[in-house]
């Protein structure tokens, strides 16, 4: 693997490899000494053009546990705020000897541009681009589901027949998009649940079922319910009348939590708006995997960095073959 840009083009074999290596990484994180010497001498740059705390520190923890050096580059207060282009920023990082660039950018497709432009030879990991994808989040969600389902026996298993309902702001959610493609690749059945205004205009090409009613979705007995954050900063164009109404119709309140079938789990990518899309009862219930997702995020990102950086570097691919893959 040279880059991790999206889950739409991620093959089943590569996805399974990341999840299985993440199992080994998770094992090492239970030890007294959590640090591995594997990426000693490698440099990982966290290039964050959008605010993020948890994703950035998760990548930082992952790189440090593998003994890589980490450089954090936040666009605020950097040369980018003076008008530097992505190309110049990238070439600066290249000149500093970055081996991997973890990029979060407000523009969909920025990581692919970085990976295929020829500006840098480093491996590129997409840590969220616009409303496009956030592949490591989907991988850690899948890892979490598999772990709850199979426990220590997770290696080599996919999510065949597993029913997942993704609830909330699908329209703006890169987490939802990455999950749709990855979960489909792994054999799960995905249902999207949202007000009609928060479903993208054309989802005919997506391997999903659409529902507009959360109670109906819960009655269909999903194995996992993924509650998305209502991104209040993007809610300027009245997608629903009031937060209160959204919460009443699409929020996971205690009554809906109680209606979930036995054994089903509740995921949330965080940060949570308690009382809006998810009630405190749901967030703190034993069904909730929120904290496991954070822990698993480090393991999945360690696996990604390992697979990108540890081996012999594959030759740089041109844009054409990158697309063909």
């Amino acid at each position: 693997m040279r880059h991790l840009l999206d889950t739409r083009t991620l093959s089943r074999a590569d996805a399974m490899r990341i999840l299985d290596v993440a199992e080994d990484m998770a094992d090492t994180q239970r030890r007294e000494v959590k640090k591995l010497p594997t990426l000693r001498g490698k440099t990982v740059v966290n290039l964050f053009f959008e605010d993020s705390t948890r994703t950035r520190i998760s990548f930082e923890a992952a790189a440090k546990r593998l003994s890589a050096d980490v450089i954090n580059f936040a666009a605020k207060g950097s040369s980018v705020s003076k008008g530097e282009s992505l190309q110049d920023t990238a070439q600066t990082l290249q000149a500093m000897g970055a081996d991997a660039v973890v990029i979060r950018h407000g523009a969909s497709g920025a990581p692919r541009t970085l990976a295929t432009s020829g500006w840098i030879t480093a491996g590129v990991v997409n840590a969220g681009d616009g409303t496009h994808e956030h592949p490591t989040q989907a991988l850690l969600d899948a890892f979490t589901m598999r772990k709850r389902l199979y426990g220590d026996d997770s290696r080599g298993r996919d999510l065949d027949g597993f029913r997942v309902a993704i609830v909330g702001d699908i329209l703006h959610s890169r987490v939802a998009r990455s999950n749709v493609w990855l979960l489909h690749t792994l054999g799960a059945d995905v249902t999207l649940v949202a007000p009609p205004t928060l479903i993208p205009q054309d989802v005919s090409g997506w391997p999903v079922t659409i529902r507009y009613d959360l109670d109906e979705a819960i009655a269909a007995e999903p194995d996992a319910l993924m509650m998305l954050r209502i991104q209040l900063e993007r809610m300027n164009a009245a997608y629903f009348p009031t937060e209160r109404e959204y919460s009443r119709r699409w929020g996971l309140d205690p009554a809906r939590l109680a209606a979930l079938p036995d054994g089903s789990i509740v995921l949330h990518p965080g940060p949570m708006n308690r009382g809006l899309e998810i009630s405190a009862d749901a967030a703190d219930s034993p069904r909730s995997t929120v904290l496991e997702q954070v822990t698993n995020g480090v393991s999945v990102r360690m696996a990604t960095l390992y697979l990108l950086l540890a081996g012999e570097r594959e030759p740089q691919q041109t844009t054409a073959t990158e697309e063909a893959r």
């Binding site: 080994d24 090492t28 007294e32 591995l36 010497p37 594997t38 697979l307 540890a310 081996g311 012999e312």
Partner: protein, 176 residues
């Protein structure tokens, strides 16, 4: 390319029996022993030795697996290796006598990596090394304590260990 078989099924069984007796003898019994196989083929070898020791000493000894992939010094020279699970027995390794079990001892670099990996897991009282085949050409000051067969070989020859658990038959061949 010609391959010749240097150990047959019965030879391997005899070698493992002898190694098991030697481990018990040098440790003065089965107390505090922990056997850790190095993936891939060290793991079934450790399990076989564990079963033999249990048979000879009348008590089971903990057997596990120690993956050394993340500690190798040649990762960047090869295509990305997929790690294997590490399984440390419930009692841990602190204060125990750990016997590392590998199929072929060659440069000694895997064992160097294994010693580093052990250090991150705990502090054994002693670490010993058992190998089915020692083919020479050491690049580090590492030597085995228990050897199934010393097999003088040229550096460019290949020594293949096949075990029933993985390869459906027991044999050791040398290819040149």
């Amino acid at each position: 390319m010609s391959a010749r078989t240097v150990l047959h099924e019965a030879d391997i069984a005899r070698a493992l029996t002898r190694i098991s007796h030697e481990i018990l003898e040098s440790n003065r019994g089965p107390d505090d022993l922990v056997l850790l196989g190095i993936p891939t083929r060290g793991v079934p070898l450790a399990q076989r030795i564990g079963a033999l020791i249990a048979q000879f000493a009348g008590t089971t000894v903990p057997v596990g697996a120690l993956d050394v992939t993340m500690y190798r010094d040649d990762l960047h020279r090869n295509p990305t290796r997929t790690p294997h699970p590490t399984e440390i027995p419930a009692g841990g390794i602190d204060g125990k006598v750990v016997v590392l079990v590998d199929d072929v001892l060659f440069s000694g670099r895997s064992i160097r990596a294994a010693l580093d990996a052990l250090q991150d897991i705990g502090r054994p009282a002693a670490v010993r090394l058992a190998t089915l085949v020692d083919r020479g050409h050491r690049e580090l000051p590492i030597r085995p304590d228990f050897v199934g067969k010393n097999l003088p070989s040229a550096r460019d020859e290949r020594v293949n260990v096949r075990l029933a658990e993985i390869d459906d038959l027991d044999e050791v061949t040398i290819e040149s």
